[in-house]
Symmetry: none
Subunit: 140 residues, 2 copies
Amino acid sequence: MFIGEYIHTIDVKKRLAIPSKFRKDLGKKAVVTRGIDNCLVVYPIREWEKVVKRLENLPSSQIDARSHVRMILSGAIDAELDRLGRILIPDYLKNYASLKKNVAVIGLSNKIEVWDELKWQEYKKKTEPSVADRSEKLGI
Amino acid sequence: MFIGEYIHTIDVKKRLAIPSKFRKDLGKKAVVTRGIDNCLVVYPIREWEKVVKRLENLPSSQIDARSHVRMILSGAIDAELDRLGRILIPDYLKNYASLKKNVAVIGLSNKIEVWDELKWQEYKKKTEPSVADRSEKLGI
DNA sequence: CATACTTATCCACAATTACCCACTATGTTT
DNA sequence: AAACATAGTGGGTAATTGTGGATAAGTATG
């Protein structure tokens, strides 16, 4: 299970180290693609396959579904971890998520998200205050 | 069952000793994450799994639910107790709860909370006087 | 075909973290 | 009161992790 927040860097060669705590669970191969709210998502293969299945079941007749499928699938890339546990982030994904040097790598149970650090900090600042309210409402 | 209040310290290496009375019940592994009212929560694995299950049932398409899941899961960390019963508190959690050197470790039946000592003292001062009222209101 | 350019593999350093042991204070037992 | 046990704190050393760079292999382009 992926949990936690790690601040890492993308170097000039577009390499990003996966937090060591995630590596065992992630395996040697992963899939990276566009995520919601301008972040990237990293899936272990097993989870990626589930995503694809779900996409396949969307009605391709609908404009929304069609474009969504296109975005997710066309954005996806096989990312093999190198010997030191790093993956390569291609330019178009870097741009999509406005990634600079410093990024936040976030564990979300069955997937991993990658955010530009500043955006992540802002998102947290905006969201943290309402955690209490929502916790109360949801009972967690 | 976790009960009681203990004043402990976080050392320069970010280690926090779990009160010995809690260790048997907590086990070797725990999960720490953001809590309500700017404290941290420590769960035994069995309780944490319940939390995750409940989070997984939230619709990830909704903004509120999505951000809530992000806050709870990204804040969480696997905390393995070392041979002397200490856990490591990462910086971002220390910051979230404004933890300095002295902290209060509070047993709350199925979970443990960690407060900055001063904040805890203030909270108590503010809350203690109304215990009677609230008891009446809640019928306990 | 040669050249530039990107991509992969390997290695090296620095900082952090994990692991081990020592000290002290407090409380308990004889 | 002395001896002992336990708990909490602090520190030293070794291993791991994250990052940067060097070299080799592959790919595209003129």
